[in-house]
Amino acid sequence: MAEDVFETDQKQSVEERLAAEALIVDVDGFEGPLDVLLILSRTQKVDLRKISILHLAQQYLAFVEKAKSLRIELAADYLVMAAWLAFLKSRLLLPPDPSEEGPTGEELAAHLAFQLERLQAMRDSAAKLMARDRLGRDFFARGLPEDVTRVRRVRYTATLLDLMQGYARIRTKDEFRPFVMDRDSVFTMEEALERMRGLIGFAGAWTDILSYLPDGWGNDPKRRRSATAATFAASLELAKEGKVEIRQNGTFAPIQLRRRDQDHA
């Protein structure tokens, strides 16, 4: 049987080799040396557990020889296996040398038998698995599933205290300070200008104008906004006076300034 497989395979392989100009081709249809061994083992027509590994090794070596004589290039795996089986064969044939280290021929043969049995077991299991009733072929899922709709609801709440404070806020505005501007959070351009005139002498290198914000004005958004606007306006004023140069590399990029030396003016 192995011979048959081999005969048909080698024809294909030769054609393939010629066509592809490949030096090495896998023997078509075989899934590696272990697979070849498994197929060869079937000619022994015995339980895999009782297989003669010695006989199998001989069969495999014959297979490789024949491939060589037909000038079929075998993949390296096959040749490595052939070499190893030749070694195993010699181990099995010669009486064990007690001085020699390492596993005995029988141990090696037993492991190979185990590997073959395991591969065969996995193949049988794969077949059983694929033969099971299968989803989409033998049994079916719901054809008309209803999706779970996700509803996100926002519920707004307020307490009576919120309400009264809100009202108080409006009424207070009227009662006590109808036109008073709250200046706590306002930094004026005049203040910024005064601050910057003191600092500008040290600005030899390009510096982000944000570094000129007064201390304590950088965290609160309102104060930062006001201070930034004032500082920017003051910088423009200083530029107009020829005291500084301003640059910005792109939209929203940091705005930088440096002192303009009078001699360049």
Binding site: V151, R155, Y156, T157, T159, G166, Y167, I170, D184
Partner: protein, 219 residues
């Protein structure tokens, strides 16, 4: 599998028992991507089957269950029982504080009802966005009152029973007046804009303020 073929071949001569036909209808209707007509059911079931009768039994079997067999046009399908529809949606409720603009508008309506939009704006000193009014109406805290008998006959707003229920008030008249607010300490500290003292906290304020501001630009 061989049994199936036998069943099929037998069925050329004799229809399967009704219980079996019921199972078949059940499976087909379950797996089908759309409602199936009796004609199609009969075409798919072995020769001699009577889908119409099988469906009568099947429908009965699903009575009171979590899914029902329903007729859709001239076809049939399984559908979730109407009373279990709530299981088909995942609801997430997010509680958010009402914006400052909405709180103030609501407060004005509560204290001054019935009040027109123009009056609200006059009291608040800023325009009131349509969104704010709509939101309060949707929450069922305010509703339209009678039109004012002034030129243009503007609509007025009043608070609702839900409003009173929510805030634990018998009537809007129970809302504390200015004097009481002051006595309660609510008017004593002049609240600078953006930093209301007390339980409202300071963290929420910035974004509330932004909202209040955006209201100005919204419409």
């Amino acid at each position: 599998m061989p049994e199936d073929i036998e069943t099929k071949e037998e069925s050329l001569f004799e229809a399967p028992p009704m219980a079996e036909q019921e199972r078949m209808c059940e499976a087909i209707l379950f797996a089908s991507a759309e409602p199936v007509s009796i004609k199609d059911l009969n075409a798919r079931m072995p020769h001699g089957c009577d889908a119409a009768e099988a469906l009568v039994h099947l429908r009965k079997r699903y009575e009171g269950r979590g899914v029902h067999l329903v007729k859709v046009g001239d076809a049939w399908a399984f559908r979730t029982a109407a009373d279990l529809g709530f299981l088909m949606q995942k609801e997430t409720v997010e509680t958010r504080k009402l914006s400052r603009a909405a709180v103030e508008t609501l407060a004005i309506i509560a204290y001054h009802q019935p009040v027109t939009r123009a009056e609200i704006e006059e009291i608040r000193g800023v325009s009131v966005s349509r969104g704010t009014i709509d939101q309060l109406i949707e929450m069922e805290w305010i509703r339209f009152g009678r039109r004012k008998m002034t030129p243009g006959r503007p609509v007025t707003f009043v608070v609702t029973q839900s409003f009173l229920d929510h805030f634990g008030l018998e009537s809007a008249r129970d809302l504390p007046g200015l004097k009481e607010l002051r006595a309660a300490g609510l008017l004593e500290n002049r609240p600078p804009p953006g930093a209301v003292p007390g339980p409202m906290g300071e963290d929420g304020e910035d974004q509330e303020d932004a909202e209040g501001q955006s209201e100005l630009f919204e419409d």
